[in-house]
């Protein structure tokens, strides 16, 4: 049966012989065997694991589903920053800011007592919009070269579904770069303008409102008005 999902272009088969795969397996082999672990990958490692083994990256970003801090364990295994050419960079759930569809379309793999969630490239790329350095822009280009996706329309739809990424930053944060970076991405990839308010935020909010149904009339006022306003139904 065919799918109506627009992200079915990625199978998520991981090549564990890639540099990122080998590093992760070395880490998994060093974990205690008396309990289970669940890690979620982010950054560029999922792209190397599932799209192209030559994808270069200095680190492998991940976090644990229980937000356990693995820095010390990684250091003891010699797999951390400054200890290996390709190193593990443990983060936390909040380190990976992406779309609400991430869990739905990620690939989940079991390796012994370890479960690994490998997010879809769409979710990896959209997380890169927070910064959109030259390297991140190249990642967009390369995924599109390799897969033909996301198309401009697909990415537009994804960003509408992730509209909350475009909210203003908190006071003590850096400014939210998603809006400006999205405009820049459109210009770089498709030589096209993007109006974040009109093309992303307005349609997303309209759909969100439609999902809640029409706003109700003021029934509370009608209750207070008592017998005053209505007429008997014929």
């Amino acid at each position: 049966m065919s799918s109506t999902k627009t992200w079915d272009w990625w199978r998520g088969d991981a090549d564990w012989s890639t540099p990122a795969g080998r590093l992760l397996r070395a880490f998994f082999d060093g974990l205690p065997t008396d309990r289970r672990f669940h890690f979620i990958l982010f950054g560029s490692a999922p792209l190397q694991l599932t799209l192209n083994r030559t994808w270069t990256s200095a680190d492998v970003d991940f976090f644990s589903d229980d937000d356990e801090d693995h820095h010390e364990r990684i250091r003891r295994l010699g797999l951390g920053k400054g200890q290996a050419d390709l190193y593990l960079e443990p983060g936390y759930r909040l380190s990976f800011r992406t779309t609400p569809l991430m869990a739905e379309r990620a690939k989940i793999v079991s390796l012994g007592q370890v479960t690994v969630t490998i997010p879809h490239p769409l979710d990896i790329l959209i997380a890169k919009l927070a910064r959109l350095d030259a390297k991140d822009l190249l990642a967009f280009r390369r995924v599109i070269d390799l897969t033909g996706h996301p198309t401009r329309e697909e990415l537009l739809q994804e960003l509408r579904n992730a509209v909350d990424l475009f909210r203003p930053a908190f006071d003590d944060e850096s400014p939210n770069l998603y809006p400006g970076n999205s405009v820049r991405l459109w210009r770089e990839l498709w030589q096209a303008p993007l109006d974040v308010g009109q093309d992303i935020v307005a349609p997303a909010l309209a759909r969100r409102r439609a999902g809640y149904g029409d706003p109700p009339p003021d029934y509370r006022r009608s209750l207070i008005d008592g017998l005053g306003t209505s007429e008997p139904r014929s």
Partner: protein
């Protein structure tokens, strides 16, 4: 009076029991002390009063309870609207008559 602001006393409880006895709320599912569905129950009662108002059968007692429900922060227009869609009044659901219902209450333009 109840523990929370805006809780109705005997009248409200009796009304809720009537609704419950009619089979619209499964009382066997209720957990003593669990008041999470209280806003929903009160809003359904408000919806039922509005049905009587629209039918021209609102009593002084309905008015009194209705005013209290309207001032109850747990009773929202959204929940009342859900109640209007979900309950049966005189054996019928509102269905396509909802707009006419709102018109009859003077809440939308004719």
């Amino acid at each position: 009076m109840g523990r929370e602001p805006g809780i109705l006393a005997a009248d409200f409880v009796r009304r809720v029991e009537i609704i419950s006895d009619a089979g619209h709320i499964n009382q066997t599912m209720r957990i003593p002390g669990d008041d999470t569905d209280r806003p929903w129950r009160k809003s359904r009662l408000a919806a039922r009063i509005l049905f009587r108002k629209e039918a021209g059968r609102m009593t002084a007692r309905d008015q009194r309870i209705g005013r209290r429900l309207a001032q109850d922060p747990e009773v929202t227009n959204r929940l009342i609207q859900q109640g209007i869609y979900s309950i049966r009044y005189q054996g019928r659901r509102i269905g396509d008559r909802k707009h006419e219902f709102d018109q009859n209450l003077g809440l939308v333009a004719r």
